[in-house]
C-alpha cells in the first residue's frame, strides 16, 4: 500500500520534474560524475579542468555541479538521478563503468542529456565520447624508438583492457618503424591507482635495462624514478607533468576535455544537441601533445611533429597496414587502416610484442 503510493508519486514527480526543468530556468545546469577524487592529479583532475573551462567560457549562462569519488554501480545511478532531479540539463558521466547506470537513468529522464565517456551504449539522449589517445602513443613510440640506446622500452599498464592494449600496440608499431631492434617490456600494475606500485614498476623496468619508460598510469612516480636513474626518458601521462621537463619528461599526452565539454554545453544551450558518438584525437584537440623538449634531438623532434601533423589532419592513421597480429596472422593489408570497431575492442598484440595479454 505504502509503496504503491510512493511509486505513483515517484512517477508523477519524475515526469513533472523533467518537464518543468526543461524550459523552466534560465541557466543551463551541467552535472559531472567523477569516479576518483579531483585531487588524483590524473583522470578525474583533467575532467574537472574541463568543467572549470566550461564555467570560464560560458560564464553566467551555465551552472556546473559535480560529485567526486562516485563508485560505479548503484552509487553512480543514484548520483545521476539526483542531478537530474535537481534540474541538470546535461550530465557528463566520466568512467567506463558508468555505462549501464547512465543508460538506466537516461531512460527515466528523456529530457535530460547524458554524455558517457569511453563507453559504447547510446540512446536518443545519451551520447558517448572518447579520445584517441593511441595517436599520442604513436608519437611517443617514435620518439622512444629513436632515443633508446639499450633498445629496451618499458611500458607500465594498469589493467589489460582495450584502451591500454591499443596504446601499447600503437607505441610499439611506431617504435619499431623508427628502430627495428626495439623490444617492449610490459609490466601490469593490476591496479588503477597505487603510486607506490607505479614507482616500483618503473624502477623494475629501469633495472631490467629499459632506458625509455612509457606509462598508462597517472602518477609522476615513473618520472621521479627516471630522474633518479639519470638517463631514462619518460613521457607525461594525462597531464603535462612539466615539472619533470626538459628531462626525463621529453613530451606528454594530455587529456584535454575542455573543447568538447564547451561545445556540447553550448549545443544544449542552443538547443542543437543530438546524440552522437565522438572519438576525437589530436586533430580536434581532445588529445594534447605536450611540448617536445630540447632533450630530443632536433631531427627526431621534427619527425615527431610531422607525425603529429599527419595524424591531426587525417592524412595518416596510426594503425595502417601492413600489420600482423602477434600470432603472425594478418591484421591489416598494405595501406588498409583499422576500423574503429576493431580498435575499440582491441584485445590482441601486434606482431613483434613478446608475452601474453593477461586474460
Amino acid at each position: 500500500m505504502k509503496f504503491t503510493t510512493l511509486l505513483a508519486s515517484a512517477a508523477v514527480a519524475l515526469g513533472l520534474g523533467a518537464a518543468a526543468y526543461a524550459d523552466g530556468h534560465e541557466k543551463t545546469k551541467v552535472g559531472f560524475v567523477y569516479v576518483g577524487p579531483i585531487g588524483d592529479g590524473g583522470w578525474t583532475y583533467e575532467h574537472d579542468k574541463g568543467r572549470l573551462a566550461v564555467e570560464e567560457a560560458l560564464g553566467d549562462k551555465v551552472d556546473t555541479v559535480y560529485v567526486e569519488n562516485v563508485a560505479e554501480g548503484p552509487d553512480s545511478e543514484r548520483v545521476m538521478t539526483q542531478m537530474a532531479l535537481d534540474g541538470a540539463d546535461l550530465i557528463f558521466t566520466t568512467s567506463f563503468g558508468y555505462m549501464d547506470p547512465t543508460i538506466n537513468v537516461a531512460a527515466k529522464f528523456p529530457n535530460v542529456k547524458f554524455e558517457h565517456a569511453t563507453g559504447y551504449k547510446r540512446a536518443d539522449n545519451v551520447s558517448t565520447y572518447s579520445a584517441r589517445f593511441y595517436e599520442g602513443r604513436a608519437i611517443q613510440g617514435h620518439i622512444a624508438g629513436k632515443m633508446t640506446k639499450s633498445n629496451i622500452i618499458g611500458y607500465i599498464g594498469s589493467y589489460p583492457i582495450p584502451e591500454v592494449i591499443r596504446g601499447i600496440n600503437s607505441a610499439f608499431i611506431h617504435a619499431r618503424k623508427a628502430n627495428p631492434d626495439v623490444q617492449f617490456k610490459i609490466v601490469w600494475a593490476y591496479t588503477w591507482f597505487d603510486p607506490a606500485k607505479e614507482a616500483d614498476a618503473a624502477k623494475v623496468l629501469i633495472e631490467q635495462g629499459a632506458d625509455v619508460v612509457l606509462q598508462h598510469t597517472d602518477s609522476t612516480a615513473p618520472q621521479a624514478a627516471a630522474q633518479e636513474a639519470g638517463n631514462v626518458v619518460t613521457f607525461g601521462q594525462a597531464s603535462d607533468m612539466g615539472q619533470y621537463a626538459p628531462f626525463p619528461r621529453v613530451s606528454s599526452i594530455i587529456d584535454d576535455w575542455a573543447p568538447y565539454y564547451i561545445a556540447r554545453t553550448q549545443a544544449v544551450i542552443d538547443g542543437t544537441w543530438e546524440s552522437t558518438d565522438t572519438w576525437d584525437g589530436i586533430g580536434a584537440g581532445m588529445v594534447g601533445i605536450g611540448e617536445i623538449s630540447d632533450a630530443v634531438p632536433a631531427d627526431v623532434k621534427a619527425e615527431a611533429l610531422a607525425l603529429k601533423a599527419s595524424l591531426a589532419d587525417g592524412s595518416y592513421h596510426a594503425f595502417t597496414g601492413p600489420l600482423n597480429k602477434q600470432d603472425g596472422s594478418a591484421f591489416l593489408a598494405d595501406g588498409e587502416v583499422a576500423d574503429d570497431g576493431t580498435l575499440a575492442g582491441m584485445n590482441f598484440y601486434v606482431e613483434g610484442i613478446e608475452g601474453d595479454i593477461p586474460q
Binding site: 510512493l6 511509486l7 514527480a13 554501480g73 552509487d75 583492457i161
Partner: protein, 360 residues
C-alpha cells in the same frame, strides 16, 4: 574534581540519549568545518540529514537508504557475532567479493536459459562463496592457531585480484566488444534480483538483512549458541568450563559472517549493481565493521547504525553536488560523527561524579 564511576548497569536512558547528543555535537563541529570551507553550515547539515529523508525528492532517496544500508546491515550482523566472541573477521570485503563471483558465476553459466530455479541456485552459490572464503582463516585458526585477522585481511587482496581476473577473463561479457566486465544480470530476468515492489528499494538483500537481524536477535537472546558466543567474548575461561567448544565456535562465527557477506555480495551483483566488474566492491565489508561497533554489536543497533551510515553517504553526495562541498569534507564529517558517537557512549556505562578522587 570530576571523576568517572562505572554504572552498575548500563543506563537505558543514556543508551538512547547519547546518539542524539553525538549527532548534535557533530552538527556543531561539522557546521564549523563547513563554515570554514565557506559554505552555509545550517544548509549543509540540512542537505545531508534532512533532504534524503524529508526533502522534495525523498520518495527517491528513502528507497536508496535501503539499497545502501542493506549490505552494510547484512554483513555487520554476521561480523557482530564473531566480534562478540572475540573472533576477528576483518576480511568481509573479500567474502563479499567471493559471494558475488560464485553467485554471478552460476547465473552467467546458465545464460540465457530461463528458469525459476536459477536465482535460488545463485543465492546458494553466493552464500557458499562467502562461507568457503571465510572458512580459510577459520580452518587455519582451528588447525594451526593462525591469526584470523591477518589471514582474513590478506584474503581481501587475493579476492580483489581474483575479481579483476574474472572481469577481464572468464566472466567477461562476450558481447561487450572486448571491454572488461560481465553481462548485466539486470537484463537477465532469471538471474535478476529485482526490486520486489518497483520503486521501493526492497530487493531480496533487504529481506535477507531483516531475516538476519531477527535470526541474530533470537540467537543471542534465546539460544544456547548465542550464550556460548557471549560467554566466550566476556569470559573465555568461564566459557571453557561451561562446555563451549572453541573450535566449533570459531567455525560457526567465521562461517556465518562469511556466508552473510557472500549473500550481500550476491544480492548486490545480481541487483543494484548488476555486473561483475574490476571495481565491483566499494568497501562495504570494511564500513560494516564500523557499523557493527556503532550498533554496539546489537542487532537493532546495527540496523540503526547501518541506516545512519547510508544516510550520510546519500546526503553527502547531495551536498557535494548542490553545495559544492568536496567529498573529503563529507568524509571528515562522517569521521566526526563516528568520533562523537563513540565518545558519548561513555555516559551509557559510566556517570560523572564530582568530588574528591579516591586514591585508587
Amino acid at each position: 574534581m570530576i571523576r568517572l564511576e562505572k554504572r552498575p548497569q548500563p543506563s537505558r536512558a543514556f543508551a538512547w540519549a547519547t546518539p542524539l547528543l553525538a549527532v548534535l555535537a557533530t552538527f556543531f563541529f561539522g557546521g564549523l568545518l563547513f563554515a570554514v570551507l565557506g559554505k552555509d553550515p545550517i544548509q549543509s547539515i540540512l542537505t545531508i540529514f534532512w533532504q534524503p529523508l524529508f526533502g522534495e525528492f525523498s520518495f527517491f532517496y528513502r528507497p536508496q537508504l535501503l539499497i545502501k544500508g542493506a549490505p552494510l546491515v547484512l554483513i555487520a550482523i554476521g561480523l557482530s557475532l564473531g566480534f562478540r566472541a572475540g573472533i576477528w573477521n576483518i576480511g568481509a570485503e573479500g567474502q563479499y567479493i567471493m559471494g558475488a563471483l560464485f553467485g554471478a558465476g552460476v547465473g552467467l553459466a546458465f545464460y540465457p536459459a530461463e528458469s525459476a530455479l536459477i536465482f535460488p541456485a545463485m543465492v546458494l552459490a553466493g552464500a557458499f562463496g562467502g562461507w568457503i572464503w571465510a572458512m580459510i582463516p577459520a580452518v587455519l585458526k582451528v588447525r594451526f592457531g593462525t591469526n584470523e585477522i591477518l589471514v582474513s585481511l590478506m584474503l581481501v587482496y587475493v579476492a580483489e585480484q581474483f575479481l579483476a581476473s574474472m572481469s577481464l577473463g572468464l566472466m567477461k561479457n562476450p558481447e561487450g566488444f572486448g571491454f572488461p566486465g560481465s553481462r548485466n544480470l539486470q537484463q537477465y530476468p532469471s538471474a535478476h534480483n529485482a526490486e520486489l515492489i518497483t520503486g521501493s528499494g526492497m530487493h531480496w538483500g533487504v529481506v535477507f538483512a531483516m531475516i538476519a537481524v531477527i535470526f541474530a536477535y533470537v540467537l543471542l537472546t534465546r539460544h544456547r549458541l548465542g550464550f556460548a558466543v557471549r560467554v566466550t567474548g566476556e569470559a573465555p575461561r568461564a566459557a571453557k568450563f561451561s562446555g563451549v567448544n572453541p573450535g566449533r565456535l570459531i567455525l560457526f562465527c567465521l562461517g556465518t559472517s562469511g556466508m552473510l557477506a557472500g549473500l550481500a555480495g550476491l544480492f548486490e551483483v545480481s541487483g543494484p549493481s548488476g555486473q561483475v566488474t574490476i571495481d565491483f566492491n566499494t568497501g562495504y565489508g570494511f564500513t560494516a565493521i564500523i557499523v557493527a561497533f556503532l550498533g554496539r554489536l546489537h542487532p537493532i543497533g546495527i540496523v540503526l547504525a547501518g541506516l545512519l551510515m547510508a544516510l550520510t553517504y546519500i546526503g553527502g553526495d547531495i551536498a557535494q553536488s548542490q553545495l559544492g562541498l568536496p567529498a573529503a569534507a563529507i568524509q571528515v564529517f562522517q569521521g566526526m560523527l563516528l568520533f562523537f558517537l563513540l565518545a558519548f557512549d561513555l555516559f551509557t556505562n559510566y556517570r560523572l561524579r564530582t568530588g574528591r578522587t579516591e586514591a585508587a
